[in-house]
């Protein structure tokens, strides 16, 4: 594995399950057992109703492209070519920032609402980042 020199997240007690899930190749979301609302980023209570009665579950990994930019400013740690910075809408409802990978980084290839699926990019022994690629089929 090439040395990973991009900024990495530092998990906190409230987010550790999420990053541990990513390390194991699973996208973990939380939902409220009272109001059934799924939410992200992780926290041990429901942002919709305030209940602490929440559960962690494995999300489908399916998403659609909500919006994005293609960064042309220098980011040597992301290579020499422009790269996408995107927000995807997960099938379960919440949105998250990510990069769209395995796909040309062009407006033509990156169409809003296109179907995506999660893939995990190993950055260190502890951290794998959830990225999204065009869905098969």
């Amino acid at each position: 594995m090439a040395e990973y020199n991009r900024p990495l997240p530092l998990p906190t007690p409230e987010t550790r399950h999420f990053w541990e899930g990513c390390r194991q190749g699973e996208l973990k979301l939380q939902r409220c057992t009272a109001c059934k609302q799924s939410y992200f980023p992780p926290r041990p209570f429901c942002p919709a109703c305030g209940s602490r009665d929440v559960e962690i579950y494995k999300a489908s990994g399916k998403a659609t492209l909500y919006s994005y930019v293609i960064n042309h400013r220098p980011r040597p740690d992301f290579g020499t070519e422009p790269h996408s910075i995107a927000v995807v809408e997960l099938a379960e409802g919440p949105r998250m920032m990510t990069n769209i990978v395995d796909c040309p980084q062009t407006p033509e290839a990156l169409q809003l609402d296109m179907a995506l699926e999660v893939t995990f990019e190993k950055a260190s022994e502890e951290i794998s980042l959830p990225k999204f690629k065009p869905a098969k089929g």
């Binding site: 992200f40 909500y66 919006s67 927000v87 990510t98 990069n99």
Partner: protein, 380 residues
């Protein structure tokens, strides 16, 4: 809020603006503050309330020799100064202090004595946004725009129009950084920054600052300058992460703050003669026009393209040239307030004839927070 009970009696920007490598950020605060005190005919001994953002109000008070009985360090990004005005008005009404100094300064370009910007990798943004390559506002603030453009059929040309119109205003302002006319083609041919945003759709990076002095309206008439009354104020915040904005086509913070200010002021949209909307990027005025209620959803871009906000239009907008052409040191809200005050005093370089009500609407962070101030030059 008690209507028209508080007024701006001092307002000034730094002596120079643009590139000021021979002055630290702290001195830029002081330069703006000293200019505002001179404008109001006051000295530091007359000031008993201090507010600033980014830097500490303790540092500003001590540097200037002020002993305050009221301090506000609310720091929610570039609209913080709108929030300071709102908080100061409440404090003056409540008798916590009599005369408030609000300062902003940033050595945004020269970075002399400027704060270093860093994000904690354990923060929410550090965990869930920074790893994907966001660097600074051009790769964050811009992310919602494509969704807006798709939803409402708004084109790159439409967004470019915002920059073109603001350059028309800047051309009338001797202190504007960029004054040469530009066309939509110029904007669309400028360097790509973060698709769909090109260089001329992004704000400047400059050095500068500004300061305001507020006191009660009944004292305001004894000051050398024409008082500018605070008619209504609003504030709100939404999210520290652009990715978690509720709806990428509208800012909740804008809507809440704007409605509060309109309600407090008791005015209609048709009463507004002059408008400032913090334009860190060219899509901001479009969101602002809609979220403040001047346009229906999806109609902001056409409103600008059709000339309503340009010189001679029915709603003069960003008449100093805005963050896109006038200046942007990092937290532009102060300059929007300064232009509203100049318009209400009747001394703006691109003066709107007979303007009686002006609104300055600010954004903080990346649609993170908002503040709105309604000014009037008519005495209570």
């Amino acid at each position: 809020m008690k209507q028209k009970s508080v007024a701006v009696v001092g307002a000034a920007e730094t002596t120079e603006m643009g590139k000021i490598p021979d002055m630290s950020q702290l001195m830029l605060h002081a330069d703006a503050a000293l200019n505002a005190m001179r404008d109001a005919g006051l000295t530091a001994k007359d000031i008993d309330g201090v507010a600033t953002a980014g830097d500490s109000p303790v540092e500003i008070a001590h540097y200037l020799g002020i002993t305050p009985t009221w301090v506000d360090g609310t720091s929610v990004g570039g609209c913080s100064f709108m929030l300071h005005v709102r908080h100061a008005a409440a404090a003056i009404n409540e008798g916590l202090c009599n005369t408030v100094l609000i300062t902003h300064a940033e050595s945004g370009r020269s970075r002399v004595g400027a704060r270093r910007f860093s994000r904690d990798p354990a923060s929410q943004q550090g965990q869930f946004e920074v790893p994907y390559g966001i660097t600074n506002p051009p790769t964050m603030f811009t992310i919602p725009a494509l969704r807006y453009m798709k939803q409402y059929g708004v084109t790159e040309e439409d967004v470019a129009h915002v920059a073109v119109v603001q350059r028309e205003w800047a051309a009338m302002n001797p202190r504007a950084s960029f004054r040469d006319p530009i066309t939509v083609e110029d904007v669309l041919n400028s360097k790509m920054i973060a698709w769909p945003f090109r260089l001329l759709m992004c704000c400047l990076v400059t050095d500068g600052g500004g300061a305001l002095i507020l006191t009660s309206a009944d004292r305001a008439k004894d000051f050398p300058q024409k008082p500018v009354y605070i008619l209504g104020t609003g504030e709100s915040c939404e999210t520290p992460m652009i990715s978690q904005m509720e709806d990428f086509t509208t800012s909740k913070a804008f809507r809440v703050s704007g409605k509060k200010a309109f309600d407090e002021a008791g005015i209609k949209h048709s009463d507004v003669d002059h408008l400032m909307i913090y334009d860190a990027f060219a899509h901001l005025p479009i969101y602002g026009l809609e979220d403040l209620g001047f346009c229906e959803r999806g109609e902001g871009a056409a409103f600008i393209r059709e000339g309503n906000t340009r010189p001679g239009g029915k709603l003069p907008l960003n008449t100093n040239g805005g963050g896109l052409s006038y200046m942007h040191s990092g937290m532009y809200g102060m300059y929007a307030l300064q232009e509203s005050v100049r318009q209400m005093r009747g001394i703006a370089p691109a003066q709107v004839p007979g303007a009686k009500i002006s609104i300055a609407h600010g954004v903080g962070g990346m649609f993170a927070a908002s503040g709105t101030i309604v000014f009037s030059n008519e005495a209570p």
